[in-house]
Symmetry: C2
Subunit: 290 residues, 2 copies
Amino acid sequence: MNGPRAAASGPPLAILCGAGAFPLEVAREAREAGREPFLVGVVGATDSAIEAYPHVWVRMGEVGKLFSALRARAIAEMVIIGAMARPEFADLRLDWGAVKRAAGLAQLFRRGDNGLLAGLAAIIEREGIRIVGAHDVAPRLLAPVGPFGARAPSPEDETDIALGVRMLDALSSFDAGQGAVVAAGRVLAIEAAEGTDAMLARVAGMRANGRLRFAGPAGVLVKASKRGQDLRLDMPAIGPKTIEGAARAQLRGAAVAAGRVLVVDRERMARDADTASLFVAGFAPSVAAG
Amino acid sequence: MNGPRAAASGPPLAILCGAGAFPLEVAREAREAGREPFLVGVVGATDSAIEAYPHVWVRMGEVGKLFSALRARAIAEMVIIGAMARPEFADLRLDWGAVKRAAGLAQLFRRGDNGLLAGLAAIIEREGIRIVGAHDVAPRLLAPVGPFGARAPSPEDETDIALGVRMLDALSSFDAGQGAVVAAGRVLAIEAAEGTDAMLARVAGMRANGRLRFAGPAGVLVKASKRGQDLRLDMPAIGPKTIEGAARAQLRGAAVAAGRVLVVDRERMARDADTASLFVAGFAPSVAAG
């Protein structure tokens, strides 16, 4: 119940918190914008640091408990933010509120990530809870256009970025592909369920074992959001860990879709990127035509 | 100079040998078809077992030595077969024959794998060496349509296979994507430079660390060839190792593009798949419409 606080003027805001630092950054930004945050932690996923704010803990599947807590506080808007391992339906601990909705829930778990999230969002909104994007509540967390730090992509990097963007776009109708690594016209790695950090570790591994041979830094990480991806539900994100991974993979830099990727701790990212001689930059959507 | 041998009736055939068992399987098939094979081993890549046949060793970049050896034996046709780590241009040990062609070579190394291979093929063919496909010389090594072993894909598996095939097709114009793992409508992994074995190991890792949670076997490995991929130069391949990897990843089975994927030791694959309760099956090209 402590933490920095401004006069709460806007309506209260629930934040359904996954792992990582984002939920707290969103809570801070919301509070600065005059909206009192109420954090919902998921047992086993969310960091206990959320307890610095008003909060409740739920287990995955405790749908009824979630809605009761929001109703008790007259909360009508919710942000969903932070990494969450996709559970299997069989692993959910369904409470009565969930059991009432179970038939619909079980079907959703046959879908891709986008499909699952869209279905869960529909269930939540049917309860009168409007889901808003972290980018609406905390627009300062979005990637801007242009370099974050001192370095900028070279013309060759721009060509690789454009290739990566076009490829991710081609993948997006398959509900896959938020990231890729491209070097000198070659696609080295494509991200699916493993996530960006694991993909970067893979590239680092291929450099180390000689499967990829480049003299010096090579390749660009490209992060975009899937076409048709509901950014309120699942927005790609990067942070200092991404820079660490890119440096280990001996990349030349990282490029993210401006306005469509969240950035954790941008100042530190820029500093770390400079130290590692990498660029980090937001690209405008039009880059795919390049 | 030993090994089984039939009366050599057709023209001699050079086999440029990468790693693995394929070069020897192609040599055996060629000899059974009455063509005397001449194996070209690449130092550091090819297994010394090729020495059972007439052979020469070259280092990567010894282009002149390769052409001289073929010319001395009046060989006008060559198969290129087996895994080969893509070298960097700077790592090549260029002999005089290569230096004469170096400007063209250096440019090729800016391309994707397909582009690089197509360019190398053009250089070879300019010397009067025709490149033929392993599938032309040894058609029995190609994946047939239908199950290899006792198990066949379920209707749900067929749906996942069709999704994988469509996605790989969408990727192929980017000179990427020979394989993917799809489970219940979700794309779990997409293969790029790491290769199929590493992709399967990744899925196994995600099962082990809980990032992927399924009760029991889930998912299908889909292997296809890239659209526009010159199958004479780079044909996707599977073998007993693929089954081992698929079993570790707790997949339900593997599906390969019939007529467009090479199969090492099909009998053993079928046996291993049966033992691991997996299916392995060739799909007809029309499956992408499914």
